[in-house]
Chain length 168, copies 2
DNA sequence: ATGATGTTGAGACTGAGTCTCAGGTGCGGA
DNA sequence: TCCGCACCTGAGACTCAGTCTCAACATCAT
């Protein structure tokens, strides 16, 4: 009955449709991913599992994320850094992101008018869109008040704490 | 008098303002970058220089691209692949991209209404934008007519020929 | 319960991008 | 014009995200 169990069932349905199996590792990853709403990196997820003493290899984390993206349970997004971030999907709540280059915070927004305008542009160019990725980088309200300056477009910023790398 | 010389002068101005120097290597890179309009990868640029027997190291290509981005002469964009693409900037012709996941072609568009809508969203969220990155992935007209299917969001596509890697 | 088939973990591997440092170069000042 | 010093370059080591390999293991339809 908890919502997470339902996501696990959806994942199992997806997997069995492809002749694939729901394993302990995959289950605990889904549980972790759906337990909070945030934008995480693959290695960050690996680290969290380690912290919780759930033994899962890097390879399995990456393989499972790929499956979750294919199944539609997880979305892979660019947030202005060099690597991907992931976030779980509930329902079909599409949104895009404002990313603060000063503090790394991420603001989500969903603007139907903006989405429609994109469709109009595609129609005009006879282009059939399948998905899109929009990040607006800048400075959030609280950082702006602190006098933080905007970063230049080549800045590599840090979203959250980062993955606290501890490979090996 | 050729336009390229003007870009080189602008680059030199930028450099000397920082106490940095215009070198042979930097000059020939600017010349190459502004000689055609396309979306290129760093290693692709390196390869082109090799083809033209202009000896430049990988490190210098990356370092110069960073300087060019800082100076505003070059823009770094995400086009749905795992690594960056670059394009030269003439004037302030901001645009975003439609990327065909079937053939890799890139369509540029500039839609003031879309841009304005983004500013409105930022204002509503009290967010001070500095720049943004929008890619719409899908299938272009000619690929659509050939019956090409849209790729899934985790697809890694190939834009252009790729860099024809030949590191070493 | 069983076994065919899919999955896992350790670690090697890849590819883009960064860093180091010894030797080379641009250019402002004399 | 020449000099010197700060800046720049190339070769290759290094980093880091992500992928692959393969022997041992787990899942689940039957
Ligand atoms: Mn989000
Ligand atoms: Mn472009
Ligand atoms: Zn902020
Ligand atoms: Zn196409």
């Amino acid at each position: 009955m908890p919502a997470i169990e339902r996501e696990i069932t959806r994942f199992q349905d997806f997997l069995s449709r492809q002749g694939q199996k729901l394993t302990q590792e995959r289950t605990s990853l889904v549980r972790e991913i759906f337990s909070t709403h945030y934008h995480f990196e693959a290695d960050e997820l690996l680290f969290k599992m380690k912290q919780k003493s759930v033994k899962i290899s890097r390879a399995t984390v990456y393989r499972t994320l790929e499956l979750l993206v294919k199944s539609g349970l997880v979305r892979r997004v660019h947030l202005g850094e060099e690597h991907y971030h992931y976030e779980h999907v509930r329902g079909d709540s599409h949104h895009d992101h404002l990313v603060c280059t000063a503090c790394g915070s991420v603001i989500e927004f969903n603007d139907p008018e903006l989405e429609q305008r994109q469709l109009d542009i595609c129609a005009r160019k006879k282009f059939t869109p399948t998905f899109h990725n929009l990040q607006i980088l800048g400075v959030c309200d609280s950082c702006h008040r602190k006098g933080e300056q905007p970063a230049s477009p080549d800045r590599v910023m840090t979203i959250g704490e980062g993955a606290m790398k501890l490979r090996k």
